[in-house]
Amino acid sequence: MSEKPESYEVAVERLEEIIDRLDSGQAGLRETLELCHEGRELVTYCAAELDAVGEGLKELKLDELATRLDSETT
């Protein structure tokens, strides 16, 4: 897996598939190693997504958000 997953849920779904496949014991050595590699990348992505909402809840008013967006566009 070289591309970033499109969302957390897609990543988690794929991760569950990978673990099911690995748990089944049906995967060959090469596939196992590739799945483990992909799984680790997905875990890294998911951990980063969780970290993004793990720094403490922030509060903004809609006006402040609008002002911020305006300043970003200009």
Partner: protein
Amino acid sequence: MTEARAATGPDRVELPGPFPVGRYARRLQEWMRERARVTLIGEVTGVSRSRVQAYFELRDGEGAIPCTIWLNDLERAGLPDGALRDGAEVVIAGGPDYYPGGGTASPSFSFRATDVRLAGEGDLLARLEALRKQLRAEGLFELQKQLARPLLPKVLGVVTAETGAARRDLLAGLRRRGWGGTVVWAFAPVQDRHAAPAIAAALQGLAASPEVEAIVVTRGGGSLADLWAFCDETLCRTVAMLRVPVVSAIGHERDSTLIDDVAAVACSTPTHAAEAAVPLDCIAARQGLGRCVASLRRVGESAIGARARHLAALARGPARALQRERRVLNQKIREIRAASERGVAERSGFQHRIAALVLGRARLRAAERAVEAERANARRGAGLDRVAAGALRERREALRRAAVALRAHDPERTLERGYALAETASGEPVTSAAAAVAAAQVRLRFADGGVEAEIGGEVEREA
């Protein structure tokens, strides 16, 4: 004088009249008052009072009618104090009326209410059901539910009252899930006739921000009349058309307001709304990820480990087979050696026995031969003695003869007879004249001693 001409309509059809307007106005008033009396339900707005009557508008999403009620009728209706106020949902009874005006007074139309009561749950539910049926028929309930809701939104929009428990409960619910994203507040009144348009505007404002991934609309509990703003048709149509999924938590019961029907998810409390807006329990997810990592590591390692062990077992296979073969071979060698040793021992024993037998026989024969030889020797002994004595005598005689002959040849004997022997300094005999000349110096040995002699001249050949 200009001839009077009857007024005509646009299509020039001749119309009755002209009538005096005041008379027409009074006729209109009579006509209206003859209309059937009905009850109307709607929201009260713009309440004002004169000395004798109260004025207000009754409206809903589709339209409005100006209403009047005599204060004595209002008093007789028995409403609680202040109940006839802006935002109140009421049911009024009465019919259309027309005030013709006159003098300086302006004419006006109104619905003359003769009775009024606050709208009950039944009235509101009946209106709600009609609206619900209509919106469902238009498919507006399904639009929000078809939107994908993010499992882990980073930015949440929230529409609620700035003060109130709902705001606090929602935040507490979000924190309980371990969610630390951004909440964008769009505060709005949540109960009166201004509420629905303000909420709709807040929702549209939030949905216009690309960062906002889901929106929560929430307020605390109340009667259906209190929550009526959330049944507003325009608001509900707005929610249905938003691109962002909306989670509603209005009051303490699900599906009591129309916004619950059109929203993507309807919840009973702000806490539940927090869970619906952030479906992922971040705390559990972090633990789950930890387990995933452990599981991946375990599977990866065991996959390699198991195969490595299998490989190692396979790799040991040939060595084991060799060892097995070697053991078999060694066993055979030992057996062969043992068998061989047994055979050797047997043969050796046999040979020893044969040898002993042969030796015994040989000894016997030797002994016999020795006895025989002894006997023969004994027999030969006498003959031998005789032969030996004869031979001795012969040898002595030969010796004597030899000594005589030797003496005859002895130079010393020759010297004794007067000859001299010429020798070189080294004792070699000089046997010719030439040798004597060559030596120059010789020693002449006589029987009684030697003398040195010098050779002079040359060899004289005898004729």
